[in-house]
């Protein structure tokens, strides 16, 4: 009904992904804005720096992690099963992709095209995830978290020793590039790893990869969001909230827990394959506990259980190091220039030479205080802490608050 956007007259309308016109418009504009990022330098009023290759790479990285995080969100946020083993499934996906898609050579590789290895990178980890599932039925809560932690260590051991698949510890292997072929032709139909021209616009390979990932992350988001609306999604939520009651109601706990692990591992596998191919080469130690922790941080900071929150969390956590780095760089320049209050305050805290006092020094090698890089890490940790203390609902909670404020304005009391 016009003028009454929140009045729904059918079930489909209520459950729609974009129920109101505002949402439809906002989402469309947002999507167009995202698609146009690589050409921001020719669009007036748009932030130019985003269209530079290195920022495109950061954003592509954000999207790869977002796909993985969506999977973990389904498992932990939707189905309530705590898992620290995400890195293991990512590694599995990556090595499946390599085994199928990498060109033949000293290590296992069949040279198959992307439309085989990418789906396989979803299927194989999913099957392994289903095998892990039964432990979730037996073991709960924090115990399950540590069991999945064990998965990561066992995985590291397996990856380290399976040298013909992974290249061996500290050595690593190359991964298949983003190229679309029909079978094993010489020249790919679409090559995302070389710069080229699409629709008359000259694009670098970073831009093309960005577009590819944008497409993939949109697909993943649709799947995740839709999952919430289906029977399976509702079963997951029932298990998360009260699993005994759910079982009494007829929700088969075993089946749905297995499904949850399977689906989440599929997302993780795809994300791992994409990450490895994006970087091009990686060592088996990459799939370690710290990687799993990054995903947990993403979904918690973003807002566990929500798809939008997960996406916001990915942007925040993955782009954060870059932002902190630029911030400290900007601060350091201000201090070197020596003007203004910022410079004076900063100068007190920062040591610029061996004799200067400071909590932080700008000398990466030696010297008093923390180096800038250690400061970056410390700030990262502090931000995680402070964020969770002050906003346990995560970024999504902040967004909700802001949105509700403006929705009700000026009647926000």
């Amino acid at each position: 009904m016009r003028g009454r956007p929140l009045l729904f007259t059918s079930y489909e309308a209520d459950q729609a992904l974009m129920p109101t016109t505002t949402k439809k418009v906002a989402l469309t504009v947002f999507l167009i804005a995202l698609v146009l990022v690589p050409v921001y330098d020719v669009i007036p009023l748009a932030p130019d720096f985003l269209s530079k290759d290195d920022w495109l790479k950061v954003l592509t990285n954000v999207m790869i992690f977002a796909i993985g995080a969506l999977g973990l969100n389904i498992l932990t946020g939707l189905a309530g099963q705590v898992s620290l083993g995400h890195a293991f499934f990512m590694g599995l996906g990556a090595y499946t992709a390599a085994a199928l898609g990498a060109p033949e050579g000293p290590l296992v590789g069949l040279g198959l095209p992307i439309w085989i290895w990418l789906p396989a990178a979803a299927v194989v980890p999913a099957l392994v995830g289903v095998l892990v599932g039964p432990t979730a039925v037996r073991v709960r809560g924090l115990y399950l978290a540590i069991v999945t932690l064990g998965l990561v260590f066992i995985g590291e051991y397996v990856f380290r020793n399976a040298e013909s698949w992974t290249g061996g510890s500290q050595s690593g292997r190359t991964f298949p590039r983003f190229q679309f072929r029909l079978w094993k032709e010489e020249e790919p139909l679409i090559d995302f790893s070389r710069k080229g021209t699409w629709f008359g616009i000259e694009l670098s390979n970073e831009a093309k990869t960005y577009i590819l990932l944008l497409g993939l992350v949109i697909v993943a988001t649709l799947i995740a969001k839709n999952l919430q609306r289906t029977r399976v999604g509702r079963a997951f939520q029932a298990i998360r909230d009260r699993d005994i009651a759910a079982e009494v109601m007829g929700v088969d706990e075993v089946r749905y827990k297995l499904l949850a692990f399977g689906i989440s591992s599929a997302f993780a596998g795809v994300s791992g394959a994409l990450l490895a191919s994006f970087v091009g080469r990686t060592i088996p130690e990459r799939w370690d506990l710290l990687l799993s922790v990054q995903f947990i941080a993403i979904i918690l900071i973003g807002g566990a259980g929500t798809v939008t929150g997960t996406l916001m969390g990915s942007l925040f956590v993955i782009a954060l190091p870059r932002v902190v780095q630029d911030f400290t760089g900007w601060l350091s320049d201000k201090i070197a220039a020596g003007e203004g209050i910022v410079a004076k305050v900063g100068d007190f805290f920062i040591a610029t030479s061996g004799d200067d006092f400071g909590i932080v020094n700008t000398l990466p090698g030696t010297g008093p205080g923390l180096s800038v890089f250690q400061l970056n890490l410390v700030l990262y940790g502090l931000l995680i802490i402070v964020f969770l203390i002050f906003e346990p609902l995560g970024l999504y909670g902040i967004w909700l608050r802001v949105r509700n404020y403006w929705k009700g304005w000026p009647f926000t009391y």
Partner: protein
């Protein structure tokens, strides 16, 4: 009260984003805090002048530039892909410090024909993803890479380096860099792990024979990866050539994070009854192996590759101080910090001038060596009138001889790989008294520019160990 806290959080987030945008949008591309060369030259207006030719100020010569060299501002930018907070952080931080002091001195004494060098340092944390990421970020800002930490990491950017035509100095001593295919855009330096091992095995064999052991038995243990396996491969080559029996081959079995592998190695070495032990590991993983072996009464000649040693072993409070002083032989790619060659002496003076509080460390020298190579390349490029990225690369690859003032054997980058192969090492022994007195870094050099007979005859065809495909 809680509501106020929430707004604080929101403002903080917004503030950070604003600062990033402020820093990012206004001056693209951004610089990090670790740019060097105080007295601070003002930051160049747009990071390193992009595109096109720019005529020289004094109109004497036309110098071509594209990225990383700004003739008007008089700045050359060099990128450093370092591991500062990861597993090799402690080591690489020292090397970066060495580079910083070196360039500081260069800038203060006239620069590269008047151009000052600024370093753009990035912390990769030894993660390949970050390494590639920072390469992408810096490739449009710097004219060349002063060092690139990690063999798999460097191999990961080699295709990009070749495509973009940029020079990089790998911060590893992997034998693959001398291979013409892999090392096209790289400046190898220092004896590769494989050669180092061969030199040391022959030296240790001679020591053992001098001690009365006619046919010394060899035990090998190493980390996995290029560092450990390249070195172990060299040890095995030496054993074969010299006819030594290898009684224990633990190559690739030392996992620093897994104590059981350390105990297993210690037990196996002891059980093998070897007379010479060649170890390629990190200090933290070596110490338990050695400690447990000597606790079981084991005694032999122990030799280790460059990064295996740490001065803490011979510190006054160290439990293994005396044993190590008795057993250990350390190889190195360059001279010691306290050596009296002109290069080391000058380095000590520079550090006393610019970083008087910095503790004495041998690894600063590696920073100097990298700096000297880059300086030679930049000066040659300037002479050629071409300081584009490709120009610097071409200049570097045309260097017949780069001298290091006595700190290291000269390097050459022309000729066949076999001719370019660096074959000389330095051998040291532990020096606890010197460390306590402050006159040494814990190591006393006993052999300078040592080359074994088998290494003289060695023909280099390809890397001793192939990094995983």
């Amino acid at each position: 009260m809680r509501i106020k806290h929430r707004w604080v959080a929101l403002l903080m987030v917004l503030g950070l984003i604003a600062a990033a945008c402020g820093g990012g949008g206004a001056e693209a591309p951004e610089e990090t805090a670790a740019t060097t060369a105080p007295p601070a030259t003002t930051a160049p207006p747009a990071g390193g002048g992009d595109g096109g030719e720019e005529p020289m100020d004094d109109g004497m010569m036309e110098i071509k530039t594209d990225v990383g060299v700004d003739l008007e501002a008089g700045v050359i930018k060099i990128g450093l892909l370092s591991d500062l907070t990861g597993p090799f952080g402690p080591l690489v931080s020292l090397i970066v410090a060495g580079q910083e002091v070196f360039w500081q001195n260069v800038n203060d004494t006239g620069g590269i024909n008047g151009l000052k060098v600024e370093l753009e340092v990035r912390d990769t944390q030894y993660v390949v993803d970050n390494h590639v990421q920072f390469y992408e970020e810096l490739k449009d800002e710097v004219v060349a890479f002063g060092h690139s930490t990690g063999s798999p990491h460097t191999v990961a950017i080699v295709p990009q380096l070749e495509e973009d035509g940029i020079l990089a100095i790998p911060l590893t001593w992997y034998s693959g860099w001398t291979d013409a295919d892999l090392g096209e855009n790289l400046l190898h330096h220092g004896a590769p792990y494989c050669i180092e091992a061969q030199n040391m095995i022959e030296y240790l064999m001679k020591q053992a024979q001098a001690n009365g052991v006619e046919n010394p038995k060899l035990a090998i243990a190493s980390l996995p990866g290029d560092y450990g396996l390249d070195s172990a491969a060299g040890a095995k080559i030496a054993a074969e050539t010299l006819g030594l029996e290898v009684v224990y081959d633990g190559s690739g079995t030392i996992i620093p994070t897994d104590e059981s592998t350390l105990t297993a190695n210690a037990d196996a070495i002891v059980a093998s009854g070897a007379d010479i032990v060649w170890i390629t590991a990190t200090p933290g993983s070596f110490a338990p192996i050695y400690g447990q072996a000597i606790a079981e009464g084991f005694q032999a000649l122990w030799g280790g590759a460059g990064p295996t040693f740490n001065p803490a072993f011979v510190a006054p409070d160290s439990a293994i101080k005396d044993a190590i002083a008795r057993d250990w032989y350390q190889s190195s790619y360059y001279a010691n910090w306290f050596d009296d060659n002109p290069g080391s002496t000058e380095a000590r003076e520079l550090f006393a001038k610019y970083r008087p509080d910095a503790p004495a460390q041998d690894f600063y020298i590696e920073g100097f060596i990298e700096g000297m190579m880059m300086k030679a390349a930049l000066e040659k490029a300037y002479e050629n009138g071409d300081m584009t990225q490709a120009g610097v690369l071409a200049a570097a690859k045309s260097l017949e001889q780069v001298d290091f003032n006595g700190m290291a054997p000269p390097e050459r980058f022309t000729g066949t790989p076999n001719e370019q192969l660096q074959r000389y090492i330095y051998i040291s022994r532990p020096d606890p008294e010197g460390l306590a007195a402050g006159t040494s870094t814990g190591l006393q050099m006993i052999e300078e520019l040592y080359i074994a007979d088998i290494v003289k005859d060695y023909v280099f065809e390809e890397a001793c160990y192939k990094l995983g495909g």
